[in-house]
């Protein structure tokens, strides 16, 4: 019998939540995630293995890569939701299903036009206000995702919301770019 079987705990193939020993849910204590990420990296990072043999060097690079990937997937709410939905056996069909409610799309287009107009006019205050508003919307959507997935098990609605979130985050980046251009 391999002694490995006796060791409870993490294997290379564990899912991202198991890797950090965090509950498999959308709600996440970011401080806890940061801390666990750092603790794991402190152990597996290749800098710890500069004087080790080739096998350990390779393992360290693979492990550190694995830990980085898990962290980057769990950190943003939208990415985390997609990953979690897949784990729970629900295919969010994020690439193939592009249908969006018309009202939402119209509103996004209006917002985008406002941003472009404000940018053209050099209106930093308007952009700042749009930025605040969009950040609020994104935060609300992130909060709602937690409710939909953790409490209501409504995965289809959660997948729709992630798609909306992606639109909103893209718009937020555009507002950022516009703010940068205006204040330069």
């Amino acid at each position: 019998m391999s002694i490995q079987d006796d060791l409870p705990g993490i294997q290379f193939s564990d899912d991202h939540f198991a890797l950090f020993e965090l509950p498999r849910q959308q709600a996440l204590d970011m401080g806890e995630l940061d801390q666990r990420f750092r603790r794991l990296q402190a152990l597996v990072h290749p800098d710890r293995y500069v004087q080790a043999g080739e096998t350990e060097k390779r393992l360290a690079m693979q492990w550190a890569t694995r830990v980085n990937e898990a962290y980057q997937t769990l950190k943003p709410a939208g990415q985390r939701a997609l990953y979690l939905l897949n784990l729970l056996g629900f295919d969010p069909r994020i690439e193939s299903n592009t249908a969006m409610p018309t009202a939402f799309l119209v509103r996004q287009m209006e917002l985008r036009e406002e941003v472009m107009a404000a940018r053209a006019a050099g209106d930093g205050d308007a952009l700042e206000a749009a930025h605040q508003a969009m950040r609020r919307e994104v935060a609300e959507a992130q909060q709602e995702l937690t409710v939909l997935i953790d409490q209501r098990d409504d995965f289809a609605a959660a997948a729709d919301l992630v798609r909306k979130l992606m639109f909103q985050e893209k718009l937020l980046r555009e507002i950022n770019d516009a703010l940068e251009a205006v204040t330069l």
Binding site: S2, I3, Q4, L7, P8, G9, I10, Q11, F12, F20, E21, R36, R38, R39, L40, Q41, A42, L43, V44, H45, P46, D47, R48, Y49, V50, Q51, A52, G53, E54, T55, E56, L59, A60, M61, W63, A64, T65, N68, E69, Y71, Q72, N176, E180, L184
Partner: protein, 622 residues
């Protein structure tokens, strides 16, 4: 070389002897070497007490290379053979080099990277850099009195893959064991952070002789986490000199200059710039070999005006880095100034205005990078206790991607991803029966291949013939802890694996490096194979030592049978480690590597689990 210490099971291995490790700042204008001595990071001076080594190499007809001050003094009299600012040519083609028309060298265009024709033959920038590194290595060995375990070499954070690979090749050519390539601003952050027990968000503004970097870091509880980085690998003090140089020509109405006068005027331009760091006005008076006179005065106001766009470029890159980190300038707790070029008052003023605070200048901007690199080298060499160390989490500076249909770039790894990082992307065939696919790897932020840097091209062959769109080809990018990329590809629908590993193709091939190494050892017969033997012995000793210390702490996770196999392989390798028999050494090394593979994997799992279970990390120290 220390004798291997074999500990009884359960008994801890005696502490390592102090390993000699150095940090090297391989700069555009000057280079330095530093080490940690009695816990203090110090720059090692030359025999005349000078810390800086001018990054200048002069080649003589007999093949000798002169490096440093002596070479620099010949820059006006022997301009074609006196190579300055070679860092600007590393991993660069002819078209990439700014103001190439004002440079006195005979460039030879070569695949990927320029070469320079000198009286001692055609030299690659890698060889020129290796000559600088050899000088620093000799200085360190003389000063430390022993064999070096390895070196940390710094590179600008904004260096792309070609420039990083070229730097690593140069170190290898100089006979240095590279512990790590370290980003210059990160090295400065280590030196600053450890000296000042700094915590919070810091910006490192690093303007050197030929490169500009901006890095935003979070410093907390022994972790240096780079949040974003940006810059320009072709913007530095040299460009400020060039603006002054052009201003002098224009103001004095000079005729086209010969090489001698060009170098003379370039020197005068640099002196004027440096003078303005302390004074409001710099006189420029000289007589050229053409008989023309220059008699001008450069004021701070004029200097600020003619260099405004350069300063602006650094500020734009700084703002972009802040945005990438998702931070506002007000959230930055301190701005650390690095690089001799930050002495210019207009830079200090502009940076202070952007961050609304006085920049931090309490470290010598010329030395801080080398000092930080030495601290990191000391850490990587294993000279510090696990309870007393720190961890660096750095990022990839530029996005990495693949060319897709229509000359567009598909980004695979976005910039500012924490390294090491791996990403895979799937592609398919677009013609029925297609059995080969060409893969073109690029680096850069733009969507068009034509404006990104081409890193490598390779063909994936042996794809089973299928209808268009049926094959699934998975291309994997891996960036290691040095920030270097490797790419592999395979077809996976049929289980048929066509796999290829590439090292980016610019710069030098492994064969070229090998032949350069051979040349540099051509005086002594068999030196190349002796060197290979020595490297094998070092690797064997390292593995033996690592195995002993692993057995001392974690032997209980092995079965008796596994333990027996490892002990046998250890005994076999120990028996041949000092012999001259390369093939026996090779075989024994491979055997111990295989015997400990599972052990190493299990220990890694074990320690990862123990860490999160809240056990004392020291108890599972690796």
């Amino acid at each position: 070389m220390a004798l291997l210490q074999i500990a009884e099971p359960g008994e801890s291995v005696a502490p390592h002897q102090h390993r000699l490790a150095i940090g090297i700042d391989l700069g555009t204008t000057n280079s330095l070497v530093a080490t940690v001595r009695s816990g203090m990071s110090v720059v090692l001076n030359d025999e005349r007490g000078r810390p800086l080594l001018p990054s200048v190499v002069r080649y003589a007809a007999d093949g000798r290379a002169e490096v440093g001050f002596a070479a620099e003094s010949a820059k006006a009299t022997d301009p074609k053979n006196t190579i300055m600012s070679v860092k600007r040519f590393m991993g660069r083609g002819r078209a990439d080099i700014a103001h190439i028309e004002t440079l006195p060298y005979d460039f030879v265009d070569a695949d990927g990277m320029v070469r320079i024709k000198t009286v001692a033959g055609v030299k690659s920038p890698v060889e020129v850099s290796a000559d600088i590194l050899k000088t620093l290595r000799a200085r360190a060995e003389a000063s430390l009195g022993g064999e070096l375990t390895g070196a940390v070499i710094t590179v600008p954070a904004y260096f792309d893959d070609a420039q990083r690979q070229a730097t690593k090749d140069a170190a290898q050519l100089a006979g240095l064991n590279v512990l790590r390539l370290l980003n210059e601003p990160t090295a400065a952050a280590i030196a600053y952070g450890l000296d000042n027990a700094a915590e919070g968000i810091y910006a490192i503004y690093d303007l050197g002789g030929g490169t500009f970097d901006i890095s935003i870091l979070r410093l907390a509880k022994g972790i240096f986490e780079v949040l974003s980085t940006g810059g320009d690998s072709a913007l530095g003090g040299d460009d400020f000199d060039h603006r002054v140089f052009c201003w002098i020509i224009e103001q004095a109405g000079l005729k086209p200059l010969n090489l001698h006068d060009t170098r003379l005027l370039q020197g005068a331009a640099r002196e004027a710039k440096e003078y303005l760091s302390q004074h409001a006005e710099a006189p420029i008076t000289m007589k050229l070999s053409s008989g023309e006179y220059v008699d001008l005065a450069l004021t701070t106001d004029i200097f600020t005006e003619i260099t405004r766009t350069l300063v602006q470029k650094t500020l734009s890159a700084t703002k972009k880095a802040l945005r990438d980190a998702g931070l506002a300038a007000e959230e930055v707790r301190g701005v650390v100034m690095v690089g001799g070029s930050t002495r210019m008052p207009q830079i200090q003023r502009a940076v202070g205005e952007l961050f609304r605070q006085e920049p931090l200048n309490n470290l010598d901007p010329d030395k801080v990078v080398a000092l930080g690199a030495a601290m990191q080298a000391n850490l990587l060499a294993g000279n510090r206790a696990a309870s007393d160390d720190w961890l660096l989490l750095d990022v990839v500076p530029l996005s990495l991607g693949l060319e897709t249909m229509g000359g567009l770039v598909e980004k695979v790894i976005p910039r500012n991803s924490t390294i090491p990082v791996a990403r895979a992307q799937e592609f398919t065939t677009f013609k029925d029966g297609q059995t080969a696919m060409s893969v073109h790897v690029v680096q850069g932020e733009r969507d068009l291949v034509s404006v990104c840097r081409s890193l490598a091209r390779f063909e994936l062959r042996g794809i089973p013939a299928m209808v268009a769109g049926a094959a699934r080809i998975r291309v994997t990018f891996q960036v290691d802890a040095d920030g270097l990329l490797s790419v592999s590809a395979r077809e996976q629908t049929t289980g048929h694996e066509a796999r290829i590993e590439v090292k980016p193709s610019y710069g030098l091939t492994d064969e070229e490096i090998a032949s350069m190494l051979k040349e540099s050892f051509s005086h002594a017969r068999d030196d190349a194979s002796l060197r290979a033997l020595r490297e094998l012995q070092v690797e064997a000793r390292r593995l033996l030592e690592a195995t002993q210390s692993a057995l001392a702490s974690d032997a209980e996770i092995l079965s008796a049978h596994e333990r027996g196999q490892i002990d046998a392989a250890v005994a076999e390798l120990t028996a041949v480690v000092d012999s001259e028999d390369r093939s026996a050494l090779d075989a024994a090394l491979a055997k111990l590597g295989a015997a400990t593979e599972e052990f190493a994997a299990r220990r890694m799992n074990h320690s990862v689990h123990s860490a999160l279970a809240g056990k004392n990390i020291d108890q599972v120290a690796l």
